[in-house]
């Protein structure tokens, strides 16, 4: 369920960015706002893709069943899908001199969290699948 809500949020963000383009909002389109444009686009892209990863993980659990570290992997994925796009969004909201704002420090936090989730799921997926007669 969380994955669908995340996807809803980040598709909405994409529509919001389209609206900024459509109405030629200077705070997004002015030549000196290239950092904001870049980072908000990254926020939208990462959020959408991570939401899909979230849904894929749900599909995996439904197909393969839960495993002991699944709650931790789920939480790590949950953190990544919130923190990484938030980092890009905040970084783009307060850009300075070609650099994103302070929020960009959230991105590596989310990145490590995503990495942790991937390792946990990969470990589980590498195990031989139990067969049911």
């Amino acid at each position: 369920m969380g994955g669908w809500w995340f996807l809803t949020a980040f598709v909405t963000l994409g529509l919001g960015l389209d609206a900024l383009l459509a109405f030629k909002v200077g705070a997004y389109l002015d030549p000196d706002q290239s950092v904001r444009r870049q980072f908000w686009t990254l926020a939208h892209a990462h959020g959408t893709v991570l939401s899909l990863v979230h849904l894929a993980f749900a599909g995996y659990l439904s197909d393969r069943g839960s495993f002991p570290t699944a709650p931790l992997a789920s939480s790590a994925l949950f953190v990544a899908v919130i923190v990484m796009p938030s980092g890009f969004l905040l970084g783009g909201a307060f850009p300075r001199e070609g650099d994103p704002g302070l929020g960009i420090w959230l991105v590596p936090v989310g990145g490590f969290s995503l990495l942790g989730a991937c390792i946990l799921v990969a470990r589980e997926a590498s195990k031989p699948r139990s067969t049911k007669d």
Partner: protein, 627 residues
Amino acid sequence: MAWLELTLTLGVAAVALALLVRASWRTLPRAGAVAVTGLITVGAIALPASKLSRVLAESPTPVALTEVAYETSNACAKCHPAHFASWHRTYHRTMTQEATPETVLGEFDGRTLRFDDGYGRVFRDGERFFMELPNDPDLVAERGMKPGVYAVDRLVGSHEVQVYMTRRVDGTYLTLPFEWRERDKRWVTTTGNFLQPPDDVALFGHTAEWNGSCAFCHNTKVNPGLNLDAGPSETLYDTELEEMGVACEACHGPGAIHQRKNQNPLRRQVLHVTGREDPTIVNPAKLDKVRSIEVCGRCHGKWYARAGQLEHTLTQPDPYVPAQMPLAEVYEDPFMLKRRGEDVVGYLWPDGTPRPTAMEFQGVSLSQCFRRGEMTCGSCHSMHAAPADDQLIAYDDLATPEREDDVLCTQCHEEFLEPYQREAHSRHSATVGCVECHMPYQTFGLMKAVRTHRVANPNPKATEHDGLPNACTQCHVDKPLRWASRHLHEWYGEPQAQSKLPDERLPATAVELLRGHALTRALAAFALGNSTSPAQGISWRVGMLVDALEDDYAAVRHIAWEGVQRLLGERASTYAFDYIGVPGERKALISRMRAELGPFPLPPRAEAERLEALLANRDRQPIFVLE
């Protein structure tokens, strides 16, 4: 905003980390949970905190920029793309360039150029450009160039004028005598580009060594590299430029340490969030007003090598580094020379007001807006947020329909914020801007009358005593100085000029055009040719300007001809007057103008005898307005 940003970022991070710790304690065995918690504590909190404390301690440490290496603008572009792009659009960048088909503006189309002080040919061979100077003994000056074909290797300027240079085998870059005026799309000689006497210096004498003069202000951090011991076949100049043209580090100082230290993202974020100044680089906008105007004033001001240090100046790198020392500690300005009794007449009006352009520093430093207020160059100009033409700050969102530039003054003079307030103050419509009265045309450069940067009140006494053109009569060109003085006295209580001259009833500009020295005449011709002047009658002004086409000085002829064109409009196009053309042709054309456009009436309240007397008493002192 920094606090909002910090709170949001830390809030999201805290929630995220808490979620991870909570999940790990719920899911993993105790050892695993401890490991995850430890990793998060060290990786996300302790390690950044230790780095942060180091950066917090280091970032405000002062750096002696005089010892720092230069990096060039390409290094700046990586982190400051917007500032790089805005600088890239300016004429500062293209102040000096190598001669290539992309940079050369002049038409090297094989034509022969003929002027009253010489002739020659300009041509192109593939990607290279050449000037051929004829073998004519009449044109060769004692210390000038010799006849021959010279390759154009390097050039100065890309806006108003482009000057071409050839490189000699001894490393000297020598300016060539034919220059391209981009504004007029035409070739001229040096006499056609500067206000200087009609002397007998032949064409080939109009050359200059770039390495020890022009190079300083048209590039970034110059070492002229003069070899004092050079023999006849040895290198005389081994000139080094940190960057060709006026680039980032000319104003911001050397950037090597700035670039190295700011590769650390934590340092950049700390500086951004704390709002601290970065001591590894200079921001002219944040300097105190004296250091700030010195950054621009190094080149938009006149400076000399200190007494006895000329050799040092020509053999060592330019000692000035922005904001690292008072400019007057390493160079002397014309005021210092004047105090010592040296001749600076080419640079200053008798009251100290600068005469040429490129002395804006000296003008600003005499202004009350700077001395008593906080005005700096940055109050009106911007390198990064203004059109390249004059780099005046564009105040689009604040612009009034009356005078856009007035908002530059009302930044400080809030009492004149509204047009009606300015009208009440000036006794003029709001279409007459602040600069019309407080920055009149008292300066000259590159064949243009230019507004003085000594912001001051109109002062007829300065006109009476020092010959400084008066703001009132520059617009009201049909009025005498006494008229201006009386109004300034009645309106503002200014002391009245005490002129007892018999020509006090004549229009001040007419008097200046007839009796003044060459600079006064050029500025008077500019005023008379102002098509928006409220003065009565145009014919008498055209008549005076046509007479001025016969002036000895090419600069006066140029300004007078521009005035005739402005006043006559389309009618002037039938007269192809060339202010540096062959004298006989000029004379014939002037006769034709008189026959077809005349007879011209006399100026208001004038008698022919009086005008002739003024002309007979003309100030004929040689005038150089030297940039």
